[in-house]
Symmetry: C2
Subunit: 451 residues, 2 copies
Amino acid sequence: MAAVYEVRETISGFLTGDALEQLAGFLANVHYADLAEALVAFDLDKQLTIFRIIDNAKAAQVLFELERDQIAPLLKGLGDQHLAQIFREMSTDDAADLIGDIPEDEQEHYLSLMSRSDAEDVQELLEYGEETAGGIMATEFVAINKEMTTEEAIEVLRRTARQAETVYYVYVVNDQEQLVGVISLRELITAPPGARIKDVMRTNVISVNLHTDQEEVARVVKKYDFLVIPVVDDDGVLLGIVTVDDVLDVIEEEATEDFLSLANVHREGQYLEMNDIQRAVLRLPWLIALLFGALLAGSVIQFFEGTLESVVALAFFLPVMAGGPGNVATQTLAVVVRGLATGEVTSQQALLVMLREMRVGLIVGVVCGSVLALIAFFWQGSSTLGVVVGLSLACSMILATALGSLLPLIINRIGVDPALASGPFITTLMDVTSMLIYFSVASVLLLNYLR
Amino acid sequence: MAAVYEVRETISGFLTGDALEQLAGFLANVHYADLAEALVAFDLDKQLTIFRIIDNAKAAQVLFELERDQIAPLLKGLGDQHLAQIFREMSTDDAADLIGDIPEDEQEHYLSLMSRSDAEDVQELLEYGEETAGGIMATEFVAINKEMTTEEAIEVLRRTARQAETVYYVYVVNDQEQLVGVISLRELITAPPGARIKDVMRTNVISVNLHTDQEEVARVVKKYDFLVIPVVDDDGVLLGIVTVDDVLDVIEEEATEDFLSLANVHREGQYLEMNDIQRAVLRLPWLIALLFGALLAGSVIQFFEGTLESVVALAFFLPVMAGGPGNVATQTLAVVVRGLATGEVTSQQALLVMLREMRVGLIVGVVCGSVLALIAFFWQGSSTLGVVVGLSLACSMILATALGSLLPLIINRIGVDPALASGPFITTLMDVTSMLIYFSVASVLLLNYLR
């Protein structure tokens, strides 16, 4: 934080003094992530001045870090010639992300500024699903033929290192461009001189398919502690690589999505960049759905109007009865949804997970029910009322653990992301069932024993 | 998944046939993460047989991947001599994690199996806070003196590569062991021969302090797309490195913690490894707290008992009134808490964020309030009741956005993790205030105009 502030102040000072040469010297030592953060404070003219000073490789990185609405004016302002130079320094996955955010009718123009092979690569990347391995992979990688010697391989690396996204792993292909092995730079350097690649490479390469979901890619990279993972097509032909920095973004993106979904905020794109009306529109559908759910619970109360009129004290416990089981259901749901997301829980274990959750529900329900029964007895001076609220709460809570675990498992099995779909369902389901349980128990026990 | 299943079946086949030599050949090509997953299916004797076959480096990695309760019997079964060899292959951060999980009175014994310098390093790591840079760093890194030539540096790497956690970045220190620069392996290889390190290294090294929180470490690594980050003490002396695979674990760990906290499940350690009673104990405090909160809301209803008796229909809308504003508050809370976690929102913007959320609340409240007013009018045939429920819901929802954004910002400013502390507070706060608003509005409007 402090660093960015200093960067901004220093740039501002040099710009005011028109000391562009000193500014260039200073900017050469600023990390692109800091520069991108500092840049936001300046107007377009000053931003363009800065872009003209820094080298093209850094310009490419800074451009990629910026938010969508800042990029459009910059692209126009930089001019085609300068932009063509910047694009040359940009990796194809970054370029595809950038171009993908631009309105379709302008994309062609920017593609025309790239080299023909880059433009073809970017166009291909744009065609893969945005959340698949193909959509997040880079096409800059070093592949060597399995027949080379280690010296020849090191020579290839020395020549191509600057273009490649990463050279820490070198992939080995056969004459059909199929992935057959991998060797780390570390292994290459420490290999006996004169050895052939095919004799020192590792042959058990773990790769992902073009169409693998990005969440699954992240899971594989995390499990195997990879820095890079190769992406192949259905024939095993090596097409690209996904690097761990992209995986970090995927994991955070997916975590944000799951987190907000649990609170019934379903976002697309950058929530924090939206205006008030967009935000409201995003939240309203779920609130309205929940509103109707709660009204359904209200109509259950209306159905039992007679019971309520006889014992108005029942109303004092409505907040507990409406909230308690809902909270238990959300707890259970969260544990199961997160377990599914991290791979600790699988759909195959549905029955096991549900039984485990119901055992927890039994303990939690009996404890909370007993506490509530005691409070009700001392507060309202009626042991029957105590039994009614305690029993109802316990039953509802046990049911809540069953539904809270089953629902996401079922949703997951039919192939929908349980984090996105479970929230409003479970709240409404618990609202209605706990009202039903509460007033049924009350009608039977109170009306028969109290009067 | 399929891979692990195959690994397990193949191991099982070789073990049954007592074909240990073939098994050894097979296991040499299995990734440690897969082997660790497959291992769980076997009993201790078979696990020990497998450990005796694989090489010590892989044994160290497999051991580290296993869950806490599986490790203890293995450590005892492997025997001190074999264990000493395995520890030699284990990085100090992994060893510290492993030893940290063992009861304190047994730690000394396992430390005595390590080399003296390793044991000292591990002991030191154990003393740093578990969730700080010092607690997650490894002490295996390659540092070279700034006066060396690039050839000398490459020679050092060639000698030490096997011991170091990573050699993709080489840190440069002065004679006082202070971090003064960095050079990537890529830059080292492509540097002009004969150059001195101090002339080709980058001097603007970003590092973290020993005591920096692991969440902040993850944020820095993610922001700068690092694979490794150096850890220094207060004097700038290089003490260790944190690698990106550890950062992946931190990000997932923190995301899980935040996600479960939003549902009021506050976990320590591995929730999914707990037994039923431990799970229940973890969930109960929050459920009981929420229960008392809801009872407080119930006592508000009791206070307005007269109003409720005059118009029983008010009870039909209790689920909406109790749930709606709570849902809005949770949405707001989630957006702000996640924003704080990813660094998109800062405490300094408190007033700005609150005003923005309240504008969204105004739209959401007016829409939901109008919908509810219309439904109430057609359902209960009373326009006054419609106005009461609509107005109450709208006011409560706007208040919900104010409280839902302010609460986490205040909690964050006093230095507590808002994800952990905000949930139950906000629910109770909204339960009570929305009941107050509902029955106050009802008392004023219904009692004055209806009769």
